[in-house]
Amino acid sequence: MSTRPDGMSGEGRLLRYVDALAEAVAQEMERDPRVFVFGLDVTDHKGIQGSTLGLRERFGPDRVFGTPLSEDAMTGVAIGAAMAGLRPVHVHIRNDFLMLAMNQLVNIAAKTHAMYGGAVTVPMVVRSMIGKSWGQGAQHSQALHALFLHIPGLKVVMPSNAHDAKGALIAAIRDDNPVIFIEHRLLYPTEAYVPEAPYTVPPGQARICMTGDDLTLVGISNMVVECLRARELLAEIGIQAEVIDPIWLEPLDIETIAASARRTRRLLVADNAWTRCGIGAEIIAAVLERAGPAAGIAVGRLGFAATACPPAPTLEAAFYPNPATIAEAAYRMVKPDAPAWHPDPERAKLAYQVQFRGPF
């Protein structure tokens, strides 16, 4: 594969994120009979927004099936099946519902390999969706990756584009550890060049999406897209941001981020989640532990407002970071003494935000 600056091959067809997910699973199921897919709603006519459509027809009801509403037990079933040598992909339509599975994920899945001294492995993937601006309110809008990141033994990946969605999902399915795979709903219709043959986007390798000297912008999941838009806004006023997509949050490629931050001396993390004890805090602490005060790195975090997500549009708009607020925060870090700057909020909007209106 030829290499581009952003680390993607540029080969293959333009494919939507949702189709890349479906293709990854289908190819892995084809390759490895141990892989199976289950979860609420995976076999209905909506097929998790299309990402599981056709799998049941192709691989049969033994390998693709719906479940009762029993997240706790179903997670245990996935773990048990994984310990028995199968490779479950357990699908949840909302990340929020994983709170019902925390005991199994934290106390069993994460610990099984270590607590039995390596005697068994838990090769499972837990897929779940996160969102933004759905008007869905407090319990259907969370992105709780920080909770999983806190627990050793779990891997966490949040691909930001179709290319990585396919490659990371294949890597996750092939991984012998429990992988929490988190997909942003607004990314589902976005397209990227995706090779047709199976490939992996392996754990622990960040991507420098765009280079720049003035500031390091780290985006998580869809925030990569929003950072890229922020970068354009910043470029118009002469600020060059380097945008990094960690892709995998555990294992995290902290060296790539630290090297960039050492060079730009400014590090801003935009997360699609609450910031307290979040991945932004982790990245900042990890970079500064490594770089020390002599590196003179300024730091900042953006994320959800520290409240439950409100459906009222006025509040919801203020709840999330967006390209304008990212660009503004970056500007303040680069020019702390300059007067405030506000990009045109309309121009700052992303195409996918303007269009999205459901379905739920």
Binding site: L40, D41, D44, H45, K46, G66, T67, P68, L69, S70, E71, D72, A73, D96, F97, M99, L100, W134, G135, Q136, G137, A138, Q139, H140, A305, A306, T307, A308, P310, P311, A312, P313, T314, L315, E316, A317, A318, F319, R357, G358, P359, F360
Partner: protein, 326 residues
Amino acid sequence: MDEHPPLTIPSGTPAEIERFYRSLRRIRRVEEEIARLYPSNVIRSPIHLSIGQEAVSVGVIDGLNPDDVVAASYRGHAAYLAKGGDLKAMFAELYGRDTGCARGRGGSMHLIDPAHHLLGTSAVVGTHIPLAAGQALALKREGRGRVVVVFFGDGATEEGVFHETLNFAALHRLPLLFVCENNFYAIHSPLDHRWATRRLCERVATYGIPAHQITDGDLLRIRACALEAVASMRQGSGPVFLECHTYRWCEHVGPSEDFEAGYRNRTEAQPWQETDPLDVMGRLLDPLTRAQIDQEITLEIAEAVAFAEASSFPAAEELLAHVYAP
């Protein structure tokens, strides 16, 4: 799905018939209005309509006192309205306005009305069931004979927390009426893909909880059953369980029908639609009374919508209000 048994002829008093009709009609019309408005995108929240299922809420709640407590799920419009929840505050909430019952911070799935003893509704299936038990524990301690009713779907009975709560409620003899609105689907998944058997009532009864199944959607039967349960609960008999078969006419979430989607068949709906309690009650009313009720409801809804439209959105500066109580 089970065979739909023939509906018994209602035997309510004229005043009762009028009350039931008004309540059913009001709920139906409110939701039809929501469905009508929905495509215009003024309602900023996913909606789970109760259309077709209203009789369960109306029948059960008719047996309650105003200070009894009701807990329901995201499919909670019917329970909210049947219990007397404020209609203006409901529309304003759907519109995401500051005058909404949750001040624009809840949406359709998080209606609440403490003045009418409506516990907030919840969007994570089954979560409100133990909350209702906590409420019932408080009412038992209070000792004034108040009771709690909790409504939930067939899908909710698959969550472990449902079973944990049954055991706890029975152990503490809580004044808690469990009402399962069994509409045979969880989203698009039919019952038989989720339940190993249909012996739910039998299962609940093993906790020592009297369990009744009502399969015909008859409002008066539901009400009679609830009345009896509530009366015994007020005396300290402990929890009672009701499984009410019913049918959802619209899609799981959203304003439309979805019989064309393939997961279920319109013929399945037919017996339910033919015996729609709203129709049944309506036919028992004299046309004048009926027309007047209809008109009052139309007016009330128009006012509520106007109220919502005239209300302002919460100010963005208020985003961090109410995270913590002072």
